[in-house]
């Protein structure tokens, strides 16, 4: 009996120990220490209430399918409207949000999206190099799980509709991550 009672306790103890000592078990991205810090972002009304959750969570679309520039440029980019229409000229065309999108498309205009994640002008941040470090050159990391790396700085966007800023994206946030992951600490790497 006593053994039976002890087993779950030991298991719990081991779990706690593992959690404390090895970040790998709770940070699912290998060879990476996720940055720490929270930000209580306010809601940003967008011209179309884009549901990230439907795309990234329910339909499991890879972040980089739409934000395709992230691996090729310093900016991830808002996908071109043509990309949206690639699917939505046939999918869910009866939904009001899609009808609104179609209106923009037919007017030959892009929706005036509001920027949610931004850094000051004197900061040079490049998506492609961060993806190279944490995804493409990262042994044991699958491209399919890229959203976990995106989440370092953007939070669990796949659980949101329109994106909300949940990380502070200030210098302390960046520098702590650079220190933990052995990133460069030369000022001119990031300041321009």
């Amino acid at each position: 009996m006593a053994r039976v009672l002890w087993a779950p306790f030991l298991a719990a103890l081991v779990a706690v120990f593992v959690l404390l000592s090895s970040p790998v078990t709770y940070a699912e991205v290998p060879n990476a220490v996720p940055p720490k810090g929270e930000h209580n972002g306010k809601d940003v009304p967008q011209p179309i209430e884009f549901p990230h959750d439907i795309h990234a969570k329910i339909n499991e679309i890879n972040c980089m399918y739409c934000h395709t520039y992230a691996r090729r440029s310093k900016v991830a980019g808002i996908p071109p409207t043509s990309k949206c229409m690639g699917c939505h000229s046939v999918i869910a065309t009866d939904k009001p949000r899609i009808q609104k999108l179609t209106e923009y498309w037919e007017k030959r205009e892009s929706p005036p999206w509001k920027k949610v994640h931004d850094v000051p002008d004197y900061v040079h941040f490049t998506h492609e190099k961060h993806l190279k470090r944490f995804v493409f050159d990262n042994e044991g990391m699958e491209v399919e799980r890229v959203s976990e790396v995106c989440a370092f700085c953007h939070g669990e966007v796949k659980n949101m509709t329109v994106a909300n800023k949940v990380k502070p994206l200030n210098m302390g946030f960046c520098v702590r991550c650079h220190e933990a992951n052995d990133g460069p600490s030369d000022c001119w790497k990031c300041h321009k």
Partner: protein, 285 residues
């Protein structure tokens, strides 16, 4: 990053050449400017305005020496060496033309501006560059007072307010900041281009190739008087030029095997160890 961190870790790239120490540079960007080819046309200077978001200050502020010309063409009328040798006379009319000198931050390895900065806004990078971090700068102006070349420019006003009336602001280069009042600025060797080249090289898992990018001044120069590159790359054009003209980094006086070789560094006797070598202008006499 704390000031302590900067002083302890990044001053290692600063070379007071009397000291030994740790100098594991990633690159050592350097330049050679051939005054035999320079015609003083000003293309480099305007190219610099275009690339680096340099503000226009207008006539009144220009008269107060507030011009922001990171790359400026100085023009002299005298030729001390030739006059001393009695080879030219500068009398009532000029016998020869002018002497042009493109002047930009010399990216000194033992820069006089760096140690006086109270907040480490200017420091030496692992690329051998003399960096100016705008958001760190508090505008004490100690650095410009200490620069023997007078190549640092201070934003006494919010020049951007007048400099780019709409839609001129749409020309601004998004690869670098627009500086505001209270900040010191100077030539960066087009660090935004260096950064892109390094990023591209890194993405392709290779080294930066000599000549794959140019500084803005170099690119515009009609006579190819400006050569820029990495002096740690033994095959780069700039390295070869320095070697040919027998100028070495880390010296306050060059010991040339052939004293007729034209390389020299401006005011190098001040022990600033600049990364720009000039090639002497040539005159037929």
């Amino acid at each position: 990053m704390s000031l302590k961190n900067i002083l302890e870790n990044w001053s290692q790239y600063r070379r007071g050449h009397e000291q030994g120490g740790h100098h594991e540079y990633e690159h050592m960007w350097g330049m050679a400017i051939d005054l035999n080819k320079c015609i003083g046309c000003n293309a480099c200077s305007v190219a610099c305005y275009a690339e680096n978001n340099l503000a226009i200050v207008g006539k009144h502020r220009y008269s107060k020496s507030q011009a922001m010309h990171w790359m400026r063409i100085e023009r002299y009328w005298d030729e001390p060496e030739l006059e001393k040798a009695g080879l030219v006379t500068k009398g009532k009319t000029i016998e020869t033309g002018a002497s042009f000198l493109p002047m930009l931050c010399q990216q000194c390895n033992a820069a006089t501006c760096e140690p006086v900065c109270p907040v480490a806004a200017t420091y030496h990078t692992p690329d051998g560059l003399n960096a100016q971090v705008y958001n760190r700068c508090i505008g004490s102006r100690y650095c410009s007072n200490n620069c023997p070349y007078r190549l640092r420019y201070f934003n006494f006003w919010s020049y951007y307010e007048d400099s780019w009336p709409e839609p001129l602001h749409m020309q601004l280069n998004p690869d670098l900041s627009v500086r505001d009042k209270g900040v010191m600025e100077k030539c960066t060797f087009c660090v935004q281009r260096i950064r892109v080249a390094k990023d591209e090289a890194k993405m392709a898992d290779r080294k930066v190739i000599d000549g794959e990018f140019q500084t803005s001044c170099q690119q515009s120069c009609p006579t190819d008087a400006i050569v820029f590159g990495d002096m740690l790359d033994p095959q780069s054009r700039v390295t070869k030029l320095w070697k040919t003209h027998q100028v070495e980094l880390g010296k306050s006086k060059q010991s040339k095997q052939n004293p007729d070789k034209r390389g020299y560094r401006v005011l190098e006797g001040l022990n600033t160890d600049p990364c720009i070598m000039y090639l002497e202008r040539v005159r037929e006499v």
